[in-house]
Symmetry: C2
Subunit: 250 residues, 2 copies
């Protein structure tokens, strides 16, 4: 049996993890993944664990495929959803470039709740109309392309979810992105910073494009940028609701 | 106790539904929702069910909020994720326009696996780079705006997920959208039609932009449109993998 399951853990603990994902986790003999994601999976007797560093996605995919081709039942775990800036694409890339037997592996991908949807649910419906998901990391694409995509999306009235907004090696990109967005959107456009959603250290900050400060983001942060039509609804003794109307006029 | 839970059921049955969503469903006294979504929820003694038709989202939201303000523990169920072309925005709109006591309701939104991510997982990683989610319905926005968003997204290299591609009242829009996309993307761009994902009548068709036929879609279909860089990886005696590389050059 040559099997690789690529499993989305969702944004936090077991409460936002699907039963199909749990079942696949339980049946694996070998677990691969970025260390902090593997740490979210309960230990089970007989399972071996193979944590790896961030930014070695391709090597991690190749190691898991090699083990699966050798006959192991292998699980690759990812946070959120495997198809959203995560391991599913790296596994497909490795299969295309790899030996023919990798195409015969029984590959299954288990979707999960991705960060932008968990954060949106916490705050109302900021992605209630059309929206884009964009990674701010320029490790794998040139910065001018990211700027072109930000301008195209904001200019056409999409709300935006920004993944990978900042890291030690990419300190200025979020500030540049916000500056660019300020030339396309009103200063009052709602902006939401969400950190570690559904985890014990969850933190959410609702602000405006004018006020948004890149220093509020870290590697575990997802940002949602509204549109010119996104509303903030104040509530007594509760956080406000943020939503983008389903109706759009122009 | 004045409580409204807006609950994402995920794309199919219980296997893709989160434990938090299941728990909220179990604790509700009244269930509201579009009839076919309510039909996916097991009957429990003591729970009343209030199905409504499609396209009455605002009235459904107001009925649920009225019941919650009267002290009931109310659940509003939606397919997929409540924040993606579903009920969360309609509930927020109703709260903003409604009586002050609706803002005091204990509102919680439970995210779910949305159709585009479930479909992407079935086929590889077609949304593996930056992507947009766009509703093709022109019930709530003018068609020229939809065309502008399609052009902006495809022109900037986003992959696209199209929700609500077609209905009896909107028969020509998907054909017009595909024709427009053919002017921005290569004829070979991969296109995926996914119908009733994770349900017994699931059907997936992988094709190209040149071949894609609007007649293959119905109301239960989600479409994924790749980019010029999206790859199709053939496999012996298995469906091909479709993925968009994480790396982008231009």
């Amino acid at each position: 049996m040559s099997r690789l399951d690529v499993i989305g853990l969702g944004p936090g603990g077991a409460g936002l993890r699907t039963p199909e994902a749990e079942s696949a986790l339980a049946s694996a003999a070998m677990l691969f993944g970025y260390g902090p994601y593997l740490d979210r999976v309960p230990h089970r007797p007989g399972q071996s664990r193979h944590p790896s560093d961030n930014r070695v996605e391709r090597a991690r995919a190749e190691a898991a495929l090699t083990a699966a081709a050798d006959g192991a039942t292998v699980a690759m775990v990812t946070g959120g959803d495997p198809g959203v800036f995560a391991m599913a694409a790296a596994v497909c890339e490795a299969i295309e470039a790899g030996p023919p037997e990798w195409r015969a592996i029984d590959l299954a991908i288990y979707p999960g709740v991705t960060a932008m949807l968990a954060l949106a649910a916490r705050t109302g419906a900021p992605l209630g109309g059309d929206f884009c998901a964009l990674s701010l990391s320029d490790n794998l694409k040139p910065w001018p392309l990211i700027e072109r995509r930000l301008a195209a999306a904001a200019g056409a009235g999409f709300a935006l979810a920004l993944y990978n907004p900042i890291s030690r090696a990419r300190p200025w990109q979020l500030g540049a992105a916000l500056a660019l967005l300020r030339t396309h959107l009103p200063a009052t456009t709602p902006v939401i910073f969400g950190r570690a959603i559904a985890r014990p250290d969850e933190a959410i900050r609702i602000t405006t494009l004018a006020e948004a400060d890149p220093l509020w983001a870290d590697m575990a942060t997802c940002l949602l940028i509204g549109t010119a039509e996104t509303r903030i609804v104040p509530r007594d003794s509760r956080p406000p609701l943020v939503y983008t109307p389903r109706r759009a006029a122009q």
